[in-house]
Subunit: 218 residues, 2 copies
Amino acid sequence: MPPIRVLIADDQDIVRTGLKMMLMAEEDIVIIGEASNGHEAVQLARELAPDVVVMDVAMPDLNGIEATRQLGELCPKCAVVALTIHEDQQYFFQMLHAGALGYVPKRAAPDDLVRAIRAASEGHVFLFSSVASLLASDVLSRIESGEGELNKDVLTEREREVLVMIAEGMMNREIAERLTISVKTVERHRENIMNKLNLHSRTELVKYAIRKGFIDLK
Amino acid sequence: MPPIRVLIADDQDIVRTGLKMMLMAEEDIVIIGEASNGHEAVQLARELAPDVVVMDVAMPDLNGIEATRQLGELCPKCAVVALTIHEDQQYFFQMLHAGALGYVPKRAAPDDLVRAIRAASEGHVFLFSSVASLLASDVLSRIESGEGELNKDVLTEREREVLVMIAEGMMNREIAERLTISVKTVERHRENIMNKLNLHSRTELVKYAIRKGFIDLK
DNA sequence: CAACATATGGGCAAGACACCCCATATGGAA
DNA sequence: TTCCATATGGGGTGTCTTGCCCATATGTTG
């Protein structure tokens, strides 16, 4: 059986070195190239036609998501394993929709990455445990809501609006004044938000909003 | 000349491996231990008394800034080199004030990290170019505003501890239980924190803590 | 139409929070 | 030694939050 030919794409030198060392220890894997940004990754993938591209999500020039999308057209035989510090819903789903077969956080054990690479090289999907549950819940809600769009980001416009103001540090009364609605309605929106997201305090809402990039932290 | 004994503290397995491989190639450097969070880093540093601790800024449990601060007391002979994905002012100054002798972004070349380690082991300071300029401008503004003590509105150890727990979303009662003190005392600490920082709600405390890198946003 | 999501609001209760008052003990700086 | 910062805690008061009950009006969609 020929070894799995792997291309590494990560902008961080240290991470690339770590990956190389880690993967070189595996007998069925060979590193055939390295890229430090998305453009380079796409370029090299077309030239080298690797079996698997280990792709960082966040890279300069062309990010991993776009690069993966392009690879789907330009080099459909290259499987992509996403490597990321983000265990966020957003990146995760974007990467999957872009065509990644694996999704492994950098904090994962080396073994998980190797498993993801082996799986991807055979067309299988490997998702790290913490993100796999995201898929499950997404699929579930999709089935329940009868399918459709993925903009099912749960919150309504109004709720998002309220969430932002909460995360900005405003009290319910202030928010009510700003939106010219009653405090009661603000409370109701906040309540719905908390139920939907399964959060139970303002502080958790703040952190959620920051993670999701709803506010600026300035 | 004896080799420089280095302890690596980073929560990401891949980064740790990368660092190890990279540093093992240097003849004057030996890796004597690895930690995957701040607590472990402090613990191991006390046991092993390394010459240099390569410390990630963002780690679970106890972040690199706090860990560095603690090391300054518990193991003053350990030099700390901060390794980070953040090239932010805030993290940078926090880390310096905490006592780090080096500050190297992960995107830096391996050589820069090695230089930082060598410098730190001799008590010198190595700052990566992109952050070094931050120091210059800070020094300038400090001279202009003509004051010496930066201790002005700095939180005490206990206050910082409470702040972190608040920012993590815990209630006063929970914090009191965790610290085995009364709710009243927690409230008092919180009150002092708010007065010192001129903040007036939990949500603002959360954002402050995140900006300052006191918590991880996970 | 019926069912549902969305946005709007009122009432109520328990508890959490923010901001005051007060006090004691300790250890270091003036 | 006196003063101050730190850490500890009790009391009280009023506001804010959270969670749960209820309701109505307006859409959309099966």
